[in-house]
């Protein structure tokens, strides 16, 4: 193996921003007053805000130093994959920076923003084609918001039929946000266990599906990284009882241009543009979770919708069955520009190829590592594979120790202890952009760690040693959080 990726180097310490600066220091100068002095109303004045006094260079150095403590996908492969954020091609930034798009005011009248509306209309059409659905709304601001939109649409559809149903079926391999989205809409989640092969059996759905159940929320591929092969049969069971099928598309990176969700019986689904379609979202946002529906649910989509009238694009609220507006304005527009740039730069074959490579890379890792780590479900996976610490437990090594040691090798740890159906889960998603060289280096690190676990387990118990911060006391941090500022 060549030089280990992880190394030590000079890292600059940096105090909290309140511990920097001196009273009176400032980073700006106000122009001289040219209007009469007018004091603020007393109730608006606050003296308890602890603003630090800083110069411009203080602020720049503070945040630049903090940024050097970060790990990023631009610096190296990380195994969290599209579930967190995959590589964002730089051409997306160029398109999003075009002045006509980036400076467009959200209140521009339709005749003055035809380009922006056309881009949104084309993106809706592209997403409909990619998923095999009929109509799309770009409004939902993130994935869970898209789930909520989907649940509201199902509720509105049933209400329009004159039905009230109280339950939603949610398998144990669905995304953790699904029960919350269903509950927020007033539905009671009914958990269903996946089968011994990690996927949902039609019989398990049949056993709980009744006429008081609004439908099912199914994540496909599921959180074990396995394709729900029985999706069509499950859809038929749910439809037979008058229910609707919701697909969580957070794992869509495995199936772009490969699976037609409409043909699989899905009535409504969401996509995560900030995962699958390569848009950046540091620090929790901005996301975008478009909701995609079959023809029969189109009347319930959020308004306003983009429509073509007399040869021009416009926004219309004239959809009486709509669930209404979900966000101010139209959703996160600049995210849409980046996703559109990604879709059009790859094209149909490119998107399918990206998914194929994502699946190939995950299976390559699965095969290379399965002699060293216990594989929860030993069968071909989609874009991610799930191991556990079962083999390492004999040496008193847990998944957490393996994850911490990986940091010494220069890698951000993968998702751990999720999905919950696998005790001690270690879930790896490499994505399509990683070359075989990159993946081999990562796999070699994990193999080396498996050997260390047997021969020198304390190396893992004491890890990480090379990062700026050593092992943190997670228990103390959770029980007695110390929040400054």
């Amino acid at each position: 193996m060549s030089d280990k990726l992880g190394t030590t180097g000079l890292i600059l310490n940096e105090p909290l921003v309140w511990e920097r600066g001196k009273p009176g220091r400032t980073g700006f100068s106000m122009p001289s007053e040219d209007v009469p002095f007018s004091p603020l109303a007393e109730e608006l004045v606050r003296n308890d805000l602890d603003w630090p006094d800083l110069s411009e260079v203080d602020v720049v150095r503070h945040y630049t130093r903090l940024s050097t403590w970060n790990v990023s996908v631009d610096a190296g492969m990380y195994p969290l994959g599209s579930c967190t954020m995959k590589y964002n091609p730089k051409t997306n930034e160029r398109q999003a920076g075009l002045v006509g798009l980036s400076d467009a005011h959200p209140l521009l009248p339709a005749p003055l923003c035809q380009g922006a509306l056309k881009l949104m209309a084309n993106l809706e059409a592209d997403l409909a084609e990619i998923t095999g659905m009929n109509a799309v709304s770009l409004q939902p601001a993130a994935g869970a918001h898209g789930e909520l939109a989907g649940m509201l649409i199902i509720h509105a559809c049933l209400e329009h039929r004159g039905e009230r149903r109280s339950k939603i079926i949610i398998p144990d391999t669905a995304h953790g946000t699904n029960p919350a989205s269903a509950a927020l809409c007033g539905y009671r989640p009914v958990p269903v266990k996946s089968g011994p092969n990690g996927i949902l059996s039609p019989d398990a759905v049949k056993a709980v599906m009744d006429r008081d159940t609004a439908g099912i929320m199914i994540t496909n591929p599921n959180t074990l990284g396995l394709f729900e092969e029985n999706i069509r049969e499950i859809s038929e069971i749910v439809h037979f009882m008058g229910g609707l099928v919701y697909a969580d598309g957070a794992n869509f990176n495995a199936v772009m241009g490969v699976v037609n969700m409409g043909c699989a019986g899905v009535d409504v689904m969401h996509l995560n543009l900030h995962k699958t379609f390569s848009t950046p979202h540091g620090g929790g946002g901005p996301g975008s979770g478009p909701v995609c529906v079959q023809k029969h649910l189109e009347p319930f989509l959020p308004v306003p919708r983009i429509v073509m009238q007399n040869g021009a694009y416009g926004l219309s609220r004239d959809f009486p069955l709509s669930i209404g507006r979900l966000v101010t304005f139209y959703g996160h527009f600049s995210v849409m520009v980046r996703a559109f740039s990604y879709i059009r730069s790859l094209g149909p074959e490119g998107l399918a190829r990206a998914s194929q490579l994502a699946v190939l890379n995950a299976n390559y890792i699965r095969e290379r590592l399965k002699a060293f780590y216990h594989l929860a479900y030993d069968r071909p996976c989609m874009h991610e594979c799930v191991f556990s610490d079962k083999k390492q437990q004999a040496h008193k090594i847990s998944t957490l120790d393996i994850a911490k040691r990986l940091m010494d090798y220069g890698y951000h740890p993968p998702t751990i202890y999720f999905p919950l159906v696998v005790p001690g889960a270690l879930m790896i998603e490499p994505t399509e952009t990683e070359s075989r060289d990159e993946i081999d280096q990562f796999v070699d690190a994990l193999i080396a760690i498996a050997k260390e676990a047997e021969e020198n387990p304390d190396l893992l118990h004491d890890a990480p040693k090379t990062p700026k911060m050593r092992r943190l006391n997670e228990v103390e941090a959770a029980r007695k959080p110390c929040l400054a500022g």
């Binding site: 437990q393 957490l400 202890y417 919950l420 005790p423 001690g424 228990v475 959770a478 029980r479």
Partner: protein
């Protein structure tokens, strides 16, 4: 995590498949989670318990427990009315890790049917299930 042989499973309590225990105490029944459950969860940082006076059916969720690894729901091993909760767990959730069968108890209920205790596993059956 420990081997099953290193964990404690007293004979004085009955066990549910979801890893709760129930112990008769006079007319009431005390409920908590097993040594195996706390060991699997790891360091517990938060415990949410029901309100006193709530009546819950067997298998219904009576609370949640949050560890550094995960959040898990707590299921009623038998049905009944909650008459007391261990409020000390609000400040010291670590008692569940340290002493799951005594200081780490969670709720006390008046059982709807005390005979439901017979549906739960004894020590030997629970250990057999864990060894699976």
């Amino acid at each position: 995590m420990k081997d099953i042989s290193e964990l404690q499973f007293p004979e004085t309590v009955r066990y549910a498949a979801d890893h709760e225990w129930a112990r008769p105490d006079g007319d009431s029944v005390v409920i908590g989670i097993t040594d195996y459950a706390q060991d699997q969860l790891g360091d517990i940082v938060y415990v949410e318990l029901p309100k006193i006076g709530e009546t819950l059916a067997p298998g219904e969720v009576f609370g949640t427990v949050e560890s550094v690894k995960a959040v898990s729901e707590l299921f009623m091993p038998i049905g009944g009315e909650v008459i007391a909760i261990n409020s000390a767990l609000m400040d010291s959730p670590d008692q569940v890790n340290a002493d799951p069968y005594h200081d780490g108890w969670m709720i006390r209920i008046v059982p709807a049917q005390i005979s439901d205790m017979d549906l739960l596993m004894d020590q030997a059956a629970y250990i057999t299930m864990l060894k699976g």
